[in-house]
Structure formats: structure tokens, C-alpha cells
């Protein structure tokens, strides 16, 4: 079950690609697992490795010296489009990513990320461009992510504010997962079901022709 999400400071992994789809985050051929093992190794697999398994030359940003251990991924517009695979945030989390910063996220990716301790932070395009500039000028700049305060603290002492769904924030800060929350509502669900008959029965065989 999830841990409470704590504030942290980290250097940044910059990946200035827009519309990164979840097929790039974890290619489909690695979706044949029935658990969550080994996903850190296949994160951005086809951008990182050659056919024979050796690293690309020059290496993809994740594999450059000093990148391992960084918890902030700074990406281009509209991150996480495409497939609903939760393997994408699982892989990011397994590699060590705790926040992804973009100007926007695909709906399903955002939901999935929030459930796995990976905070999707959407900021406006101008601030986003400034952040890329900052990291370009000082690749080792350290940012501090404060979820409770909804701010990213920059090295110069200024803060970038961000929005987050208040409910998702509460779940993250408490380390509660949503299933527990909904299970507490079971009496209400039972009451609702009592007045709303099922619309289909998936077990039924073909009824006699009417």
C-alpha cells in the first residue's frame, strides 16, 4: 500500500519531447508480465537501447552520468498520451521518478500517476519554458517539490505554484489509497444498487427468441 508522499529536493532529468506516449514510456512487448517486476529496466526502452541491448550512443538522457537518482522528470507538452497502461507510472516510480513536470498530461496517465506516488505537475507554457532554460543553464540545479504547499522551490528562492486535485492531494499526503476510501462507502453503494437493477448479466446464455 502506498507511502505518504513527502516533500523532496532533487536535480532534474530534462526530456524536451512533446506528446510522449505511453508506448514510449513502456513498449507494449514488455506488458506480458503479470506483476510489476523489472519495469525500471524497460522504462523508455527503445529510446535507451540498441537492438543488441547496448546503450545508445550518445546515451539517452536517463543513462547520462549523474542522472540516476534524480526524482524530477521535466518533459515537453502533453505527456502520457495513448494507452491506459499503468505500467508507465509503475516504471517511472521504479526508476525513481516522483514528479513529472509538463504543461499538460493525458487524462488516464494523470490518474494512474497519482495512484502511484508519481506527481504530475502541470505548469503554464511560459514558466515551463523558463524551467527548461534554468536546467539548460545549470544542469545540476536542485528543485524542491512541496505537495502540501503546491509549490516548486527554485534555487533562486522563488516558487512556482501548481494546481493539484484536492482529493488526490489528500490521498497522496496521507498515503491512503482510493479503494479503502470507497470501501468505506459500501453501505451507500448497497443502497444505490437496491434501487438500480443491473442492466446486464454477463453470465446469461442466449435467451429463447422472443
Amino acid at each position: 500500500m502506498p507511502e505518504p508522499y513527502r516533500n523532496f529536493a532533487s536535480k532534474v532529468v530534462p526530456l524536451p519531447a512533446e506528446n510522449v506516449d505511453t508506448d514510449q514510456v513502456v513498449p507494449a512487448r514488455y506488458l506480458k508480465i503479470t506483476d510489476k517486476a523489472g519495469l525500471a529496466d524497460v522504462l523508455f526502452r527503445d529510446w535507451r537501447f540498441e537492438e543488441d541491448g547496448s546503450l545508445k550512443d550518445p546515451p539517452f538522457v536517463l543513462d547520462r552520468p549523474g542522472m540516476k537518482g534524480r526524482a524530477i522528470l521535466l518533459v515537453g507538452d502533453n505527456f502520457g498520451t495513448g494507452s491506459s497502461r499503468e505500467h508507465a507510472p509503475w516504471a517511472l516510480e521504479a526508476w525513481g521518478v516522483r514528479a513529472v513536470i509538463s504543461t499538460g498530461f493525458a487524462d488516464i496517465f494523470r490518474n494512474n500517476a497519482l495512484k502511484n506516488g508519481v506527481l504530475p505537475i502541470a505548469i503554464d507554457p511560459i514558466t515551463h519554458a523558463r524551467l527548461f532554460e534554468l536546467v539548460g543553464a545549470d544542469p545540476d540545479a536542485e528543485l524542491r517539490v512541496d505537495l502540501a504547499e503546491q509549490g516548486i522551490l527554485l534555487p533562486d528562492g522563488t516558487t512556482i505554484d501548481f494546481d493539484v486535485d484536492p482529493f488526490a492531494k489528500l490521498m497522496l499526503l496521507r498515503g491512503t489509497d482510493e479503494i479503502g476510501y470507497v470501501l468505506d462507502k459500501l453501505p451507500a453503494i448497497e443502497a444505490w444498487e437496491a434501487t438500480h437493477p443491473a442492466r446486464v448479466d454477463t453470465r446469461e446464455d442466449a435467451p429463447a427468441a422472443s
Binding site: D21, D46, N78, G82, A106, I189, R203
Partner: protein
């Protein structure tokens, strides 16, 4: 009390809210939960760890589609991982009492093909699946969307989901399609216009004369790719076309219950004067066959156009993205897309793997031959589609044309099962995603309609289906 005018989406939403606590997302009841082998195993593991049961196995249905081979069913799985995953689905369904249409079951097929085919997908329902193309079921006027595996676990355990009410986006398509232009071209044109993030946070409602004129299968093609426009769901109001399709299907209401259901469904369409958060209008009569040239579904152009030039892009980030896409595709800015040689043509997937799609392909392939440089794979969306095609003799036309006629599954749409492009190969594909590596590592995809795909297979290069002799007769062929 006079009710405020509401959209179709709002009506379905209001009908399914179980709890709406201040500040929290609503607890939304789920009528139908579809399950497949790839996005469910970890959810069942979660249930076991918590000691939970599946709350409504009888509102849940499973199939194996993504990683199943499309070679003859008697042959073994070559991939032990895929075999284990399909086996795990079987174990999970047995343990939790979920009906499974697995390999060998006459109802097996792509999850978004079998739901409608079995009559499980019905107007006014909420439908979810751990799969982004769940939007397909919106064609019936259902609120249907993809979810992640944590949410799959939530729905298994509670038959509900935590959701914020989505915004609404009206997509109005008026005018009449011309011969050789099809539903696939409407949706590719929409995505090319608004971009792959254009519908984020919204649900599309497709309306207008051109939408009303479509068959259910064509409507499914459109709703299917809502997610490629960034919208989690896309709906079409139910009408007589919908009811006619559903009537008599296995899980559709029967007898007096049918009449009652139709009466309820007739109240679903968006009220006059209901407001949408956003709107766009498309003129169907001005559309040409569409084809993508890049590495996301928004990179699409009318088939007679030229590949755009990154240097002319509106902003530098777009220019870089375009440059990267063209480098991956090995295409030159300004080149024609017509005449681009192709190695593989794939007809299938939850977008275009239904019987009407196969009929179109057959009409285009009849008495013709696939070009010698092209491998053409035709993969029915379900076992039922396969049987129907064979009853109609379509498979004979495909084989005579030199195409491969295979078993049902997702196949080369996602390339998890061994059906894939070799690095550098070009494919015209009727599926929905042209992301880097989607159809095989290093493979290059042109998304298009079944007609364009079939015309391209014959020509050995990207070809305009409007130039096929007899196209006027072909264009009218629809699904049931």
C-alpha cells in the same frame, strides 16, 4: 419542476452518481466492466492481498485478445510469457467467477468488438475497461472510458469508480461523405485538426447529419479513436440505427423488457438548448481520404497532400517534434504521401476489424492481387466476425488476392503476439496508433481506412481509394 436542458453525457452521469461528497470526486456506478489479459493481472493480485472478492462478477466479462497468436488455433503459443499471461487470466476468472470468452470460445475476440456483438454494450450505461479504446462503446450512447489497473481493481472490488464530472465537447459533422471517404477519415480529420491533446479533460459527443447517417460499425470506428484526440470518451446519441443493431443480440433485453428499454433509451439524447463546454464543426462533404505521415495520430493529412515542412511549423517545439517524426519515418518534407512504397498492409483492430470493414476490403480486393512487394494481413476483430466473413466467402477473396487470413485478436495493432513489422518497414494500417515502434520496433505506420489500406495493398504503395474502379458501388457498403 422543469429540468435544465442536459447533454447525453450529463444524463448518464446523473443516473450513475452513488455518492457526491463535497470536494471529493463522485462515486460513480459501473454497469459493465470488460477485462483483458494485459491490464488485469496485477489488479487480481491486489484483490487477493486485501482479501476482497469481485463485487459483481455477473457485470464483468473477460476475453483474451492482446497477446494471443493469430496463427491457427491448434498451434501452441510460441511466447511463454504471453501463454502465462493468458493462463493467468483463466485462473483469475475461475477463482473470482468471471465469465471468460477465452481462446476457443466462439465469442472470443477483441474486447471492444465482442461487447457490442454480444449485446452487452447498451445505451445509457457506464462501461469501463483497462484499455483506452473503451471509448468505442460510446457509439451506443454509453459513457465508456479506459482506466488504469488500480482502477480495474477498484471496479472489481466495488463496481464503482471515483470520477470528476468530465467537460463536454460537441463534434458536429454535417454534410455527406463522398465515395471512397469513410468514418475513419472523419475521425482522422478531427484529430489532425485539434491535435492529440485537443480533447483532454473532455468527452466528445459526435452529432450532426453525417453521424446520423453512419451505421453502428462506422460509429464505433469514430468513437474508438476519441482517445487519440485526447478525450477519454466519445459518444453518439442512440437512435433507430442503434436499436436495430442491438435487437435480438444475446445480452440485449428481450420481449417486453426490450420495449421498455427502448422507451428509456429514447430519452437519452441531448436536450435542445443544452450547452457544451466546447464545440467544433466539420464538413463531411469536404473530406478526402486521410492518412498519417508521422508518429502520432494527429500527424495526418488528406491523402493528396504533401508531408509538412518542420521549418514552417508555428512554434519551434512543434518543428522539432515534426523533424523527429519525419526522421523516424524517413520521409522528406514536402514529398507526396501518395506513391510512398509500403511493405505491409494490416486490416484489423478494434477500430476497423469488423465485418463491414472486411466487406470493404473484399470489395476493393475482388479480382485484384496484392502487389508482390507487399505482405497483407487481414485479422478479424472476433471469432464471430471471422465466421461471418467465411459464411460470406470473403476469406476466399482475400486468399485469392494473396492476403493472409488469420485468427481473431489485436495482432499487429500492438505487436505483442509476434505479428509485427521489421525495423524500417512501412505499413498502411487500419488500426489507431502510429507511435514509434507500436507495430514492431523500428516499424513505420501510416494509419488509414480499410479502403485506403486495400487500395494501397494492390498498388504496393500508398494509394487513393477513390481511383479504384467501381468505388461508387463500394462506398455504400455498411455494417448491420
Amino acid at each position: 419542476m422543469e429540468q435544465r436542458p442536459r447533454t447525453l453525457v450529463e444524463k448518464i452521469w446523473d443516473d450513475h452518481v452513488v455518492v457526491a461528497d463535497e470536494g471529493a470526486p463522485s462515486v460513480l456506478a459501473v454497469d459493465l466492466h470488460l477485462v483483458h489479459e494485459v491490464t488485469s493481472p496485477q489488479a487480481f493480485t491486489g484483490l487477493r492481498q486485501r482479501g476482497l472478492k469481485v463485487r459483481h462478477p455477473e457485470r464483468t466479462v473477460a476475453t483474451a485478445d492482446h497477446s494471443v497468436p493469430t496463427t491457427p488455433r491448434g498451434l501452441p503459443f510460441l511466447d511463454p510469457l504471453a501463454a502465462a499471461q493468458v493462463q493467468q487470466l483463466d485462473t483469475n476468472c475461475r477463482e473470482f467467477g468471471i465469465p471468460l470468452h477465452g481462446i476457443g470460445d466462439p465469442s472470443q475476440g477483441i474486447v471492444h468488438v465482442i461487447g457490442p456483438q454480444l449485446g452487452l454494450t447498451q445505451p445509457g450505461m457506464t462501461i469501463v475497461c483497462g484499455d483506452s479504446h473503451t471509448s468505442t462503446h460510446g457509439a451506443f450512447g454509453a459513457l465508456a472510458f479506459g482506466i488504469g489497473t488500480s482502477e480495474v481493481e477498484m471496479v472489481l472490488a466495488t463496481q464503482t469508480l471515483l470520477q470528476r464530472k468530465p467537460k463536454t465537447y460537441e463534434v458536429r459533422v454535417d454534410g455527406r461523405l463522398t465515395a471512397g471517404v469513410s468514418a475513419k477519415d472523419i475521425i482522422l480529420a478531427l484529430i489532425a485538426r485539434i491535435g492529440i491533446g485537443g480533447g483532454t479533460g473532455h468527452v466528445f459527443e459526435y452529432r450532426g447529419e453525417a453521424i446520423r447517417a453512419l451505421t453502428m460499425e462506422q460509429r464505433m470506428t469514430i468513437c474508438n479513436m476519441s482517445i487519440e484526440g485526447g478525450a477519454r470518451a466519445g459518444l453518439i446519441a442512440p437512435d433507430d440505427t442503434t436499436f436495430e443493431y442491438l435487437h435480438g443480440r444475446t445480452h440485449a433485453p428481450h420481449g417486453p423488457a426490450w420495449d421498455l428499454a427502448v422507451e428509456t433509451w429514447r430519452r437519452l439524447p441531448t436536450d435542445d438548448w443544452a450547452a457544451f463546454d466546447r464545440s467544433i464543426a466539420i464538413d463531411a462533404s469536404a473530406l478526402e481520404p486521410m492518412v498519417t505521415y508521422g508518429t502520432n495520430p494527429g500527424m495526418g493529412i488528406p491523402i493528396t497532400s504533401r508531408v509538412p515542412d518542420p521549418a514552417a511549423a508555428s512554434d519551434p517545439a512543434h518543428g522539432r517534434a515534426l523533424e523527429k517524426a519525419l526522421a523516424y519515418m524517413d520521409l522528406t518534407p514536402g514529398q507526396a504521401i501518395l506513391g510512398q512504397p509500403v511493405d505491409v498492409v494490416f486490416i484489423g483492430s478494434c477500430t476497423n476489424g469488423r465485418i463491414s470493414d472486411l466487406r470493404l476490403a473484399a470489395a476493393a480486393l475482388k479480382d485484384r492481387h496484392v502487389a508482390p512487394n507487399v505482405r497483407m494481413m487481414i485479422v478479424p476483430g472476433s471469432d464471430e466476425v471471422k465466421r461471418e466473413a467465411e459464411r460470406e466467402g470473403l476469406h476466399e477473396i482475400f486468399r485469392a488476392a494473396g492476403a493472409e487470413w488469420r485468427e481473431a485478436g489485436c495482432s499487429m495493432c500492438i505487436a505483442m503476439n509476434g505479428d509485427q513489422l521489421a525495423p524500417g518497414q512501412y505499413a498502411v494500417s487500419t488500426s489507431n496508433r502510429n507511435f514509434e515502434g507500436r507495430q514492431g520496433k523500428g516499424g513505420r505506420t501510416f494509419l488509414a481506412s480499410p479502403l485506403t489500406a486495400a487500395a494501397s495493398a494492390v498498388a504496393g504503395m500508398v494509394a487513393d481509394p477513390r481511383l479504384l474502379p467501381g468505388i461508387e458501388a463500394v462506398a455504400g457498403i455498411g455494417g448491420r
